[in-house]
Symmetry: C2
Subunit: 239 residues, 2 copies
């Protein structure tokens, strides 16, 4: 029915599927057509469709649900930096993390950000955000978003922001973050961070620079998070 291009293998199918996601034909969080119907549509065997889907599932673009459907991933959710803090370890687990938007403004592109993100945009949405636990500020975050794509956040009031940003990106801007790269470094706390966190300037601080990627593998967010180094414990897997 639809297969317009010359067919050259399941990788081409994966590309075609990706294109549908990008075009919005397969919306974020929604189910894609069944394997059987795709096989018919593209004129290939079921196994070939399955191989293409398996690859995209592996990359985190699609999520398979046995007996139900295969869906377009709606991205990361519980990946907050807050999980690296070891405050109140013995305390009750019922702590509700809070988020407070301090400021939102538009700024011109900065060179250092363009360098790590490869963004060619001219202006950025810069969001200043505080993360708290039991009303105590733990993380001072600065978030940079490319403006064409995230313009719907531009006019929002701080109170209209949700606690978790990634799910909010999906709803407000149709962007799903499925992968990120973190850089964890150490520094002496700068005045601005110290003020926001109610700590002393020069106190040992941890700084995490994160670049987040969407379903197409393109960088969609740059974030810098600063907190108390002595209470931070980062964990990661190495392969």
């Amino acid at each position: 029915m639809a297969g317009n291009k010359t067919y050259r293998g399941y990788q081409d199918l994966a590309v075609a599927f990706r294109a549908r996601v990008e075009a919005g034909a397969w919306p974020i969080g929604g189910a894609i057509p069944s394997e059987a119907s795709l096989a018919e549509e593209f004129g290939v065997a079921l196994g070939t469709i399955r191989q293409a889907i398996a690859q995209l599932a592996q990359e985190g673009v699609l999520v398979k649900r046995h007996g139900k459907s295969t869906e377009v991933s709606s991205g990361l959710s519980g990946q907050s930096m807050l999980r690296f803090f070891r405050y109140q370890l013995d305390d009750h687990r019922q702590l509700v993390p809070q988020a407070k938007i301090v400021a939102i403004k538009i700024v011109p592109m900065e060179k250092r950000i363009a360098a790590v993100t490869n963004w060619a945009f001219k202006s950025l949405l810069k969001i200043h955000r505080l993360r708290l636990l039991k009303d105590r500020p733990l993380l001072n975050e600065t978030i940079y978003l490319p403006l064409p794509k995230f313009k719907r956040l531009q006019g929002l009031k701080p109170s209209e922001f949700e606690e978790l940003l990634y799910p909010m990106y999906v709803k407000a801007c149709n962007v799903a973050v499925i992968r990120a790269k973190d850089q964890v470094g150490f520094e002496l706390m700068k005045r601005a961070d110290a003020k926001a966190l109610n700590m002393k300037e020069g106190h040992p601080a941890v700084r995490v620079h994160r670049v987040a990627f969407d379903l197409m593998g393109k960088p969609v967010e740059y974030r810098s998070s600063v907190g108390d180094a002595m209470a931070f414990e980062y964990s990661a897997e190495v392969y």
Copy 2:
């Protein structure tokens, strides 16, 4: 020919293959039999064998070589902690990292180590090791190895150790490390670390605790590495 057990799916095949690796029937770094011969041996279709192999390849146990063979992984090699240091970034890249074994001894199991590794052994091989760049000490490492398995390292002289430990584990003890979990934290440098690194006690320090896993997914090494926090930059991917 060999299929002794009741066959219940490709996951059972994966288990059987893993068992062969563990038993040494398929030696580390060596090629396993061809897919066709395995299909015949186990009395299943080629595709089923391929699925089992794909799973183990995904887990890092096997490595596929198109046109050649599928091999048992010989593990990580270039995963040194030294890669997180940003000394002489503009300098020539030709820096040869060095490693110096300071001390080797046998110690009784420590509770905190048993807690994170689940080891039930009674004694450990404790290796004190220094990592240097241009003769400058950057990392002070303490490595704990369970003793039955690593007894062949016990009698070695410091000079007989190689620069990279993981490849050495393969050769000397038939253990391949294919995965690890890192925990990155900050602390004020303790006297012993400061002395080893030629720094001042109380200087900001980074500490990485690592648990390394072998082909069977079992923890085989616990390591604690301390360095100058100001020169450290850890990077990781988030999924």
